[in-house]
Symmetry: C2
Subunit: 269 residues, 2 copies
């Protein structure tokens, strides 16, 4: 057993959907979340910059004595986390792309998998690279859905407008006959209702759920679960404005979001 917190980081609040998944599966675990909102989004940054940000944040989380690191950030996963793993060889590191790809390959019947994400995640080819690395004979069809994040952030996850937009984005995937759809952005679990409504026949793969199950499996194998009489106390840290983080974060996590601390780890450029 190990009562230290699990460190989770993201470029913003989206990674809180991963926290939601962790709390559901492992209600006794303590979470320390770092949202780098001052430098959000990571998408337009260079690969080197994103790698440096990830290492800065990981180093700080390690100083805070986390027992595991969850990179709840598609951009960080796309840029690679090998340098973080090299810097902290004993720290288990879980990210969001690989668990989702593994789950999709397990689920698909016709070997045609769709992935939706921001324009930058899609352009990075991160999902395709992981699919290639599995050497499985599956076809990945990618679709950028640039407007989804704004809908989620203003809380509009139902109604005719978001359905219309979803129909537009998903039509190419439907015509490509994908039977499994990866939600390749941490914001999208909040759109599962509309996505399922529009693509009724596809199986949705939420990286939040799959990542949480990966964390559960790693804690089990390494015997790292927290066992304590006290309920967990989570901690939320933001590099940008704490009040904004808290207000937006409540959409993603619900009332479990508590006081948010502000902390800058590097130059905000």
């Amino acid at each position: 057993m190990d009562s230290r917190p699990i460190g989770v980081f993201d470029s913003g609040v989206g990674g809180l959907t991963i926290v939601r998944g962790l709390i559901e599966l492992m209600p006794d675990e303590q979470i320390l979340y770092y949202g780098d909102t001052a430098r959000y989004p990571y998408g337009p940054r260079s690969r080197d910059e994103v790698r440096r940000f990830a290492l800065d944040i990981a180093s700080w989380l390690v100083e805070q004595d986390v027992k595991m690191l969850v990179a709840a950030c598609n951009s960080a996963a796309s840029a690679g986390l090998d340098h973080v793993r090299e810097a902290f060889p004993d720290l288990p590191v879980v990210e969001v792309v690989e668990p989702a790809v593994r789950a999709a390959i397990r689920v698909t019947r016709n070997r045609r998998i769709g992935v939706i994400g921001t324009e930058l995640t899609v352009a990075s080819g991160a999902y395709q690279k992981v699919v290639d690395a599995t050497r499985e004979n599956v076809t990945l069809v990618s679709q950028a859905c640039p407007r989804f994040v704004e809908f989620v952030e203003r809380g509009e996850t139902a109604g005719p407008e978001v359905i219309e937009v979803a129909r537009g984005y998903l039509a190419p995937l439907q015509s490509q006959d994908v039977d499994t759809l990866i939600l390749g952005c941490t914001h999208y679990p909040l759109l599962q209702g509309v996505l399922h409504f529009v693509m009724r026949d596809a199986v949705l793969i939420s990286s939040a759920e799959e990542t949480a199950q990966d964390v559960y499996a790693q804690l089990t194998r390494r015997d790292l679960f927290r066992i304590a009489d006290q309920p967990p106390v989570h901690r939320f840290v933001s590099s940008g404005d704490a009040a904004t983080f808290q207000a937006l974060g409540a959409r993603f996590l619900g009332p479990e979001i508590t006081a948010v601390e502000e902390r800058t780890l590097g130059p905000v450029a």
Copy 2:
């Protein structure tokens, strides 16, 4: 649009996993939850009794002016809800068995589906009946997991003991080569970590998620979403002790569980 609450009922607190699913997909909706904890569990009751309970509770929820009814209770679904639908022909009624079966049939590749539940749900054959009604050529393998509820209710969802127990329950399903596993009890979403750890190759179907997606689709088709400036206020009503409901309910729903009212709708026998 329709700003009235969604009525959800269960024999106890387990249905709160459905509420969790509803809040995640439809954060603006208001929930009125009735947990018939004084008569929990419904399993040992006769079919006629359970049907009467369901009608009593549905009638009270209709008096409270709900716009939709979610029977978050495997026993109530097993006993049938046709009399509730007849009594309130204009009220949309969603239950938990059919959405899960539909999802499992959509997902399975080898047409071999497992379902786990309490001894009474398994003995009722409710899942088999729904599978038969679909006329799909799939095999359903059922397995009762009597000890899972106690593990969930004492919050032991990780660790060697629950994994050992899960291995025992799931071994027959694994040897029957099921590739899809329905969690046929509202308590089981809290065990997704251990279930996935033990049955890594199977796809888990949570009736909580599938039911929430059904509710979303019905609200969309009927244009019944709540649109309001005020955040939703949920209401939790229990026929048994409110403090017990609240303490246990927090495991299922987290801090969204607020004050619990006590209210008896019929003789507690």
